[in-house]
Symmetry: C2
């Protein structure tokens, strides 16, 4: 589906990442508005991996900053691909702090942040090949008590099969179209990214819901 | 200002165009919602030039299509720059029709469309050098009775000096920050594009208004 957009429609990776990162930040802000956050500061921990998801996480962090949140990024394995590099610079230049390590003591995370945005692994990640530092990060995230918002696929879930004993997010933000694993998800489920041409929706028989007015997200359940 | 974004913040032209095109479409849709359009079909004529404005117009047309409008693009002088080429393909592949000429009989335009989006000339256009086909298009647009929404600078206006006897739009959508000519504009004035880092706002002493919640546009007057 993304290949159709890139090849046939001449979308660029920067362009897609920007659209989806914006929509994810809107989804997070609508679900966890500034006014309901429990901590004194509107802190959000955004955990980014080296996959496309991680780059969308970086864009999401930038928009959260524009929406007056205080995002902190943890981005342990950096990709050398051009969108990742550029979106990293954009975060750094906007003075978004980057953590050099994730505390293993989960209480520190619970105390410091209102929520975690999980952009660690993506639908294309082959779970058998996942190793350090990701396995330990997943173990830490399993223990946190603050809400987790996962982008597209909760990290560690198989995008088709669903939950294979890993983190259990409160919010799932499906990107462009829900992946099969979302069927096994019982929390708040939003669809983000209103960009798919009708021909692609038809080709893949997506049966997407109708976004209201100019909204870039829609609540599925 | 844009140079800072491109050079220091590693923004790309595709990325900026996407953000601004989206915000313009939201501005148009909020000002002229589907429910108040007079014509049977939600038609919009989007007039694009070869400048950056025109490319934002193409992105705006694509989003208007996603928002259930029926945009038609008139794009008489095509740029060969990469964002223009890619954003044109995206419109064409989404079956947005392109006019091969603009009717000189303005009544045809008044009858066929609910409004015109003017992305013909931009703030960087040197007005002394403007010639055909633009002068004739401006003459036609001067005569239309349906509302005109101009992106950033009404075509034919000097971005600093203001109105030099040309079109008089009903809606002005300033991009990122109002240009000086907006001071002489008395219609509905929106600011679109929530992306400027605080450092840039400070550097150029922009004193931008505070966008509410996750909005990408804000009404100035």
């Amino acid at each position: 589906m993304e290949m159709d957009l890139l090849r046939d429609y001449h979308f660029g990776l920067h362009q897609l990442t920007e659209i989806l990162g914006h929509a994810c930040a809107v989804a997070v802000a609508k679900t966890y508005p500034l006014s309901i956050l429990g901590k004194r500061q509107p802190t959000v921990l955004v955990v980014c991996g080296p996959y496309q998801n991680g780059c969308i996480g970086l864009a999401c962090a930038r928009y959260l900053r524009l929406f007056e949140y205080m995002p902190t990024v943890f981005y342990p394995k950096r990709s050398t691909q051009s969108p990742h590099l550029d979106f990293t610079v954009q975060c750094e230049k906007m003075d978004i702090p980057f953590l050099s390590y994730l505390p293993t003591e989960v209480q520190l995370i619970n105390d410091a942040y209102n929520l975690v945005v999980d952009a660690l692994l993506g639908p294309e990640t082959e779970l058998e090949t996942v190793k350090e530092p990701f396995t330990n990060i997943l173990l830490t995230l399993q223990g946190v008590k603050i809400p987790i918002a996962s982008l597209d696929v909760p990290s560690g879930w198989d995008s088709d099969e669903g939950n294979i004993c890993t983190i259990n997010p409160n919010l799932l933000i499906s990107l462009m179209a829900p992946k099969r694993c979302a069927l096994g998800f019982s929390g708040t489920h939003l669809l983000a990214g209103r960009l798919l041409p009708y021909d692609i929706q038809k080709k893949y028989e997506l049966n997407l819901p109708k976004f209201p007015s100019t909204a870039c997200i829609i609540k599925l359940h």
